[in-house]
Amino acid sequence: RAGSDGQPGKFKPPPKPVIIDKEKQGVERRFLSPEFIPPRGRKDPLKYYMERKDMIQRRKVCSIPEFYVGHVLAVTTADPYANNKTNRFVGICIQRGGRGLGATFVLRNVIEDQGVEVCYELYNPRIQAIEVLKLEKRLDDNLMYLRDALPEYSTFDVNMKPVSRLDHEEIPVNKLQVRMKPKPWSKRWERPKYNIKGIKFELPESKMKEAQKWSQPWLEFDMLREYDTSKIEEKIWKEVNKELKK
């Protein structure tokens, strides 16, 4: 490169690339399972504390991996009427509900052209193992619209191999826009109350505009509905980690 006085200047080596090796940095990702967070109410916090102790006890025996809605899981439960006395079900997690020991998650799969949804309780003593086969988050918290989507979006191979993944990487978000079957649907997913971002709506503009009539824009400013869980989460995270490391 020519210098300021026209002569070729001294060679400046290019700046060295900065490599952030996340493995060595050891940045821990915090994940607190949503069923640990107590709901807002007038109940005694002692009740939630006792439930958390029981939940931690159960997690020490049967480890429950970190998973979100949209992951593909395989669950083996004890079944007295099956051949091997175990029952293995593979499916995509549609929703996670409940708090405390009654926390549930619903797995959906399409087996031989029949859609099957099974609701499992996380802390059920009959569950022997939960494996995460594929990790990916979706755009929504609740994938119930897969019932009205084309069946190809809910089919997962029962003998799928677990996708390998490094521990420190971020969980990828799948921005898939799902195509739906023709209307009528089980719920009117185009309405703003469900706030779904993962559907490719092929409805005419007039229908989408009409659906916006049911929008409630004042809800996000309602202060009584705010439930700030950050401080509660911090405390519970420390408590749970301390117990689990024992």
Binding site: K43, D44, R58, V61, A78, K85, P125, Q128
Partner: protein
């Protein structure tokens, strides 16, 4: 069910009390003494105990008398016992006959004029009066009711919690009276309780958690069938 600061307040011998057995007055949760007059504090001063929110009576036999002032703990009950739980039900206010007594009401359409949730006829022609105790609309709830024969599955001695089967009358955080079951089928299960009660300063050292034999404990591995 949490046992919160229970103390025995007074012993009433058989002759003074109206019934067939002696009575023990037991007080519940601790509460500030400022909102009641001095005369109401008499019982608590005699027993040497802070003012309690609720006082209830228990009919006791003579060999089960406890000195006033002793604290009562959750370990008074053991897993496997059966228990009756009494509390005031949730008050629903003035309610109509369909909610209060479960009447069927009338159809919603087919020509019904202004009559969909009414009781209909209240008596016959021959009686020419309404019988006392006729089911009619009125205040529902806020009444003492008992759920009988509840099994005790687990007891936590550190926090004084009794894990009881099924549901119990009353709203969340309400005060509740727990007694040994009076049902004849539960008599054999209720034998060998800590008698007259569990004393914390006694010789017996209980573990933090007491479980029934049949219950699944979270320290055990997952259930498998063979």
């Amino acid at each position: 069910l949490k046992v919160q600061d229970c103390h025995v307040l007074r012993y009433v011998p058989k002759e003074e009390s109206g019934g067939k057995t002696a009575k023990l007055l037991v007080g519940g949760k601790n509460v500030a003494p400022f909102s009641k007059p001095e005369s109401a504090h008499q019982i608590f001063k005699e027993a040497g105990v802070p003012r309690k929110q609720k006082i209830s009576t228990f009919n006791v036999t003579d060999d089960a008398i406890i000195k006033p002032g002793t604290p009562l703990y959750a370990a008074h009950f053991r897993p496997g016992q059966f228990v009756d739980v009494t509390a005031k039900t949730i008050g629903k206010g003035f309610q109509g006959v369909m909610k209060r007594w479960g009447f069927k009401g009338q159809p919603a359409s087919h020509g019904q004029t202004k009559t969909h949730r009414r009781p209909g006829a209240i008596s016959t022609n021959k009686a020419s009066k309404v019988y006392p105790g006729k089911k009619m609309p009125g205040k529902m709830g806020n009444v003492y009711r008992t759920s009988l024969g509840l099994k005790v599955w687990r007891i936590n001695t550190k926090h004084d919690i009794i894990y009881v089967n099924g549901s119990v009358p009353g709203h969340t955080n309400c005060l509740v009276k727990v007694r040994d079951s009076k049902l004849p089928t539960c008599k054999e299960h209720n034998k060998n309780p800590p008698f007259p009660t569990f004393f914390a300063d006694g010789d017996e050292k209980l573990p933090e958690d007491l479980f029934d034999e049949e219950i699944f404990q979270f320290t055990e591995p997952s259930v498998t069938y063979t």
